[in-house]
């Protein structure tokens, strides 16, 4: 049960129930759809860029608690960040959920540290990273829906 609580931390459950920035973004100039065919998770990430800066970001879709909370917290973290900062944060986040986080990386990752429990559940890594992969596709201007498979 303790492992389970590591995965489903209160912050994650709370974001799952009340996801932030959960809406379509009319002013979006970038968007992409992400799909996890294994479990049917499907999210759209919307971006409004100001040069290299993410002026606004939102998402919509369906998925498990981990994928939804991850998408929600991602949008919170990235507002006002540059592309480069976003890419770097994804790298750190990916390291965290796959159990490869370097010592002292917590400072950079901030609130996203609640996802550290995911590393104990390898099949859930795709859930945690789906929104981030979708973000990447949106930034790269990919037209086709990306897939975790």
């Amino acid at each position: 049960m303790s492992d389970l609580r590591d995965l489903y931390q209160d912050v994650i459950l709370e974001h799952c129930k009340a996801p932030r920035n959960y809406r379509e973004l009319p002013a979006a100039d970038h968007k992409a759809e992400g799909f996890n065919p294994l479990c049917g998770d499907r999210f759209t990430v919307y971006l409004a860029l100001d040069g290299d800066v993410i002026r606004d970001i939102s998402f919509q879709g369906t998925g498990c608690a981990i994928s939804k909370a991850s998408a929600s917290m991602m949008t919170q973290m990235l507002k006002g960040k540059t592309r480069e900062e976003a890419e770097k944060l994804f790298g750190r986040f990916h390291d965290l959920v796959t159990g490869h986080a370097a010592a002292g990386a917590e400072a950079e990752i901030g609130k996203l540290a609640v996802f550290s429990g995911v590393s104990e559940f390898p099949v859930r890594v795709k859930c945690a990273t789906l929104a981030w992969h979708t973000l990447q596709a949106a930034l790269e201007g990919k037209q086709e829906a990306i897939s975790t498979e």
């Binding site: 389970l4 995965l7 489903y8 998925g63 498990c64 608690a65 859930r124």
Partner: protein, 424 residues
């Protein structure tokens, strides 16, 4: 185990003794069921995905490799003769199991998927043309959709799917309407993997035959749970997988009526499927070898034979009756948990419980149950059109086999309550 569960278990033992079905003895024959998962006894409820293997099957595989291993249909030496005998013996076991008229109507394939692809490729491509139609149902597994879609696309034909109702049952009148003069073949699942619905295949076949349309039945979910008689059904093709009926992976069966198989072109070319080869012309082998190119999964076939002997030894009617009792118990227990919604409530149903808990995503349900040692499947179960029909992305699915008990259902229910606690 709680006292209540133990008490229930002993009461169950009594009722089981009356029916002559000793589930504890059956369980003792499955080595993996003695395992602990995450420190808890394994509760394996993912049988629609694959079943566990009894000692009898594992032993048959080991014995084959230790005592008989050789290639079949080729050598004149002792081992080759022995391997061939055992391999062909397995074919006769399958023949008896399905009550096929002849052993050469039994084609060994890799599984249900390959069996359907064989029929789609060989029969389909030579009988389906531009403007024709293939008719399936709205509850098919992807493996009984995509092969037909590929043939239809290639030939300019159309794939039609008869709709299902809110209980997950085929709407027979709609099926009847869609079965028209353009229909060249019907593909239907015997039992739905996602919903548990048992289709009225006898009635479907009768109707299709009255309009001269052959029928392929996907029996993957049926053979582990009830007896099947292909002559009584009068189906033209019947396919199933070994691994879902307690046999090894990588082996399955296509049954086809002799006359149809005889007239069909080969599926794959190679060794064993030929009678003579020159660079100018090849004469194909007779049935069933015409459809078995290359060295087959000899050990798999022998293992499958052992698995079918195993279920026949217990008796499929007894298995069906026992599983029905557990399913009814599970349906009552699971649906009485507040917030639980069952997907698939057909009147005629086999051991599948597809469910949702409030708005908790099935993937989260699966992870939490896994921590309790409970193995279920979550996702779309390779039946995306079914999920779409019910307007849901996925379900959690507990599926039964002959070794599951009511006590395990109690563990499942406690697991479901834990999910509700976490997501309260």
């Amino acid at each position: 185990m709680t006292t209540a569960a133990r008490k229930l278990g002993s009461e169950q033992g009594l009722s089981v003794a009356r029916s002559g079905y000793d589930v504890e003895r059956i369980r003792a024959g499955f080595p993996i069921l003695q395992k602990q998962i995450r420190g808890k006894p394994l509760v394996y409820l993912d049988n629609a995905a694959t079943s566990q293997k009894p000692r009898a099957v594992i032993d048959a595989l080991v014995r084959y490799y230790e005592e008989s291993n050789s290639n079949v249909h080729r050598g004149v030496h002792y081992l080759s003769e022995r391997a061939t005998e055992e391999f062909e013996g397995a074919r006769r076991t399958v023949q008896g199991f399905l009550n096929a008229a002849s052993a050469h109507e039994i084609i060994f394939v890799r599984g249900t998927t390959e069996g359907i692809n064989l029929v789609a490729h060989s029969y389909g491509r030579s009988h389906i043309g531009a403007g024709d139609e293939v008719l399936i149902t709205g509850m098919e597994h992807h493996s009984n959709i995509v092969p037909w879609q590929m043939v239809c696309q290639e030939k300019g034909a159309t794939l039609r799917a008869a709709p299902i109702n809110d209980a997950g049952e085929l709407i027979f009148e709609e099926f009847e309407k869609l079965l028209g003069p353009k229909t060249k073949l019907v593909g239907v699942t015997h039992i739905s993997n996602a919903l548990g619905t048992i289709n009225p295949v006898r009635k479907i076949i009768e109707l299709a035959h009255s309009r001269n349309v052959p029928v392929l039945v996907d029996g993957a979910q049926a053979v582990p749970h009830q007896s099947v008689d292909v002559q009584e059904l009068d189906c033209d093709f019947y396919v199933f997988s070994g691994h879902k009926v307690f046999g090894p992976t990588g082996i399955g069966v296509l049954y086809g009526k002799s006359a149809l198989l005889e007239a069909m072109p080969p599926y794959q070319g190679g060794g064993d499927m030929i009678r003579s080869v020159t660079f100018e012309k090849t004469v194909y082998n007779q049935l069933p070898y015409k459809f078995e190119a290359g060295t087959p999964d000899i050990a798999g076939a022998i293992g499958l034979g052992a698995a079918l002997d195993y279920v026949t030894g217990i008796g499929l009617d007894k298995i069906a009756a026992y599983e029905h009792e557990v399913l009814e118990y599970a349906t009552r227990a699971v649906s009485s948990v507040p917030g639980v919604r069952l997907i698939g409530t057909a009147k005629e149903k086999a051991g599948v419980l597809s469910f949702l808990i409030g708005d908790v995503h099935p993937h989260d349900i699966g992870t939490i149950l896994d921590q309790e040692g409970i193995a279920i499947r979550t996702g779309h179960h390779c039946s995306q059109p079914v999920m779409e029909r019910f307007n849901i992305p996925a379900t959690a699915r507990a599926s039964l086999a002959l070794y599951n008990t009511k006590e395990e259902i109690d563990v499942l229910v406690r697991g479901i309550e834990k999910v509700r606690e976490v997501f309260a």
